[in-house]
């Protein structure tokens, strides 16, 4: 059985995960600097470990209503190729093992509904965990360097 480590987080009522190998670190969230003219789902810029990184608000990205940020709010700092970005989530607590065999393709209807941000669905201790497509979330297909 092959399993891989993932960082689990929560946005709204749903559990999501990204591969731990793509995650640089987790950071607490304390207001990002809004960038006028940036896409609406970009919460702004933050400085983390000496880097200037854009923060993508996953609630906005997933079409959920904005909420007041709490002490549970976290920024999952991910690396995609040469790019580093932060994903603002409602909470992020655990590192989870995901059994590769438990991963399934999301149903077509669901995939379209979620704007193809979800690339697979895994089952972890009988809970559904959605594996997100990080490059797509940070608009990798639009960036041409």
């Amino acid at each position: 059985v092959t399993t891989s480590l993932h960082v689990g987080f929560r946005v709204g009522p749903t559990d999501y995960a990204v591969p731990a190998t793509d995650v640089l670190h987790l950071d607490t969230y304390d207001a990002a600097t809004p960038v006028p003219g940036a896409p609406p789902y970009v919460a702004g810029l933050m400085q983390t470990r000496g880097k200037l990184v854009p923060v993508v608000d996953l609630r906005a990205r997933f079409g959920l209503a904005p909420i007041e940020r709490t002490i549970d709010s976290r920024v999952v700092v991910v690396k995609v190729g040469a790019r580093v970005a932060g994903l603002l989530v409602d909470s992020a607590r655990e590192v989870i093992q995901i059994d590769d065999a438990s991963c399934e393709q999301p149903p077509d209807v669901f995939r379209t509904h979620t704007n193809e941000f979800v690339k697979a669905i895994a089952t972890v201790t009988k809970r559904l965990v959605l594996l997100v497509d990080v490059p797509r979330i940070i608009g990798e297909e639009h960036s041409d360097g």
Binding site: T33, P36, G37, P39, V42, M46, L52, G139
Partner: protein, 653 residues
Amino acid sequence: VTERVDLREFLGGFVAEAEELLVTANSTLLEIDGANATGQTRPRALKDLFRALHTMKGLAGMVGVEAIVEIAHALENLVRAAEQRGGKLQKPGIEVALGAIRAIGDRVRAVANREAVPPPPVELLAAIAAIDVGSGQLEAPPAISAKWDDRLAADEKRHVGGALERGAGVYTLTFTPSTDKQERGLTIASARARLGERGDVVKVVPRSVGRAVVFDVLVISDAPQSELAALVETDAIERLQRAEPPAADPDALRDDGSESSVSPFGRALVRVELSRLDELQEQLSQLLISKFRLEREVAQLQANGFDVRRLREIVQAQSRQLRDLRRAILRVRLIKITEVLEPLSLLIRSLARPNQREAQLVLDTGDAELDKAVADRLLPAIVHLVRNAVDHAIETPEQRIAAVKARTGTIRVSAGEIAGNQLALVIADDGRGIDRDAVAKRAGHSVDSDAALLEAIVVPGFSTRDVATRTSGRGVGMDVVKKIIVDQLGGQIELHTARGVGTRFTLRVPVTIAIVDVFSFVCGPQTFVVPVSVIDEIFELEPSQREHLSEIALMQRRGRAMPLVALGSLLAVDAGTSSRNALVVRRGDEPIAFAVDRMLGRQEVVVRPIDDPLARAPGVAGATDLGDGKPTLVLDLVELGARMSLRKPAVRA
């Protein structure tokens, strides 16, 4: 928000060094006096005296005690003149010199007692100036070559003469500019820069030949003649030979004291205010902008079906020239890191004594160079790490001997250039290493890796000490080091520590950074900055103008109609109607005013580019840290103004 180095920290070390130098100066003067009595000369003693004074001057300059600098400088001149004119200092000169040494001594004591340092006595300076050091003439500069003798100043002749004397290669060459060379990026400026990389360009003199201008260049270089010729594409190159046997005393006193970092070509140096270099860079960025405009126009022409090949070649050549120019300017700003770190040796002396530690500093930074602006910001961080090492890392001599270590602890600061624009600076000590358990206890969690340890100690307010030592505990902690290296300079810190063996900090910093003079202001809930260079004017809005603020309105200013843009609504930040000030920028010939809530101030900041496409937006030129650890956006109001004029007028009810 740059941390300044507190000069007081160096004063203890300065006093100790200065006292030793005064003893040397006094004893050499007495030696000369004794030799005079028996009709002998003591050229060696005179040289020692010169060196002592020169070092004194340098040290006093370093800690900013101008009175001592002035006296030492005057006396140094007297001693040099005496040496050049036959190596003799007679009784009156010795009396005056002893008086001057006493005056310096008084001032060193004032420094030691933290008293105000009295200015140099006018009579003393006059007396030094009045000393006649003898009838010997200052030796005439050597002849170089018929072509150059009339074109060189006396000190340049001495400089070149010295090079010929050493057997160094001295070449005279003629550079002939041409459009062809220019297109390949070879102009007199780049020729000079290329030669400058391979040697010392003494002089460049333009000369007209018919209607063209050529340049005669005199260069001292160890590179082969053929290489120099190829560098600047010339056949007209000739190696100069010694014109006549040199009359120069090779052992003559020169202001090239080995303790200082003055270049061997001391006289060829010129001091330039940093602000002028900034100005130069500012001009250069303007040039870059007009180059971009040019490129756009060329693309437009091409789109309209014109043949733009020649134009394109010229634009490409210009791009290369601009790149060369940019590099050349950046190089001018670089200073040797050794120069920056010199005060550290004084710091070690003033720290080690009160702590009953014995510590030596080894500077191993070689020829590594750094932008002056980076160096100035970096020094406080290094001072802190060195101070920490003396205070906490180096054990007492007894402890060290018990641990089978050298009695004297060593703190080594070394540098090595790593990839591209980054420099690694290593501050290593052979002390006791960081106590992981103590840090873990204090931090409230385990710190198993060096990275975790570093994370823990850079937390503001962190200290494992209950009682601040005399030298530490002045309020700067590792958090300040992190702030400087990581937040301000965009660098990185690494830590390696081993119990009983020592600790090593590696600081990776950019060699150059973009420092920009900016105005900061508030607009809505956010603070922004804008480069001072683009602002024509700042004025206060009249109450009536405030009331009628819409996205864009017209206002009268100095008899002209000027658009007034509410920056808050343009940026869609919630600004309300509290705009008090307006900033005027010029787009082409047209002024545009931007209304902002209120001005905060003016400061120099490090601007960092926004690399990620997600956070790149038109009108946002970069980000900076105003000291709160959060990014503040640098706006390009000219660009915003340009977009304004592209927008269709909003339809209003």
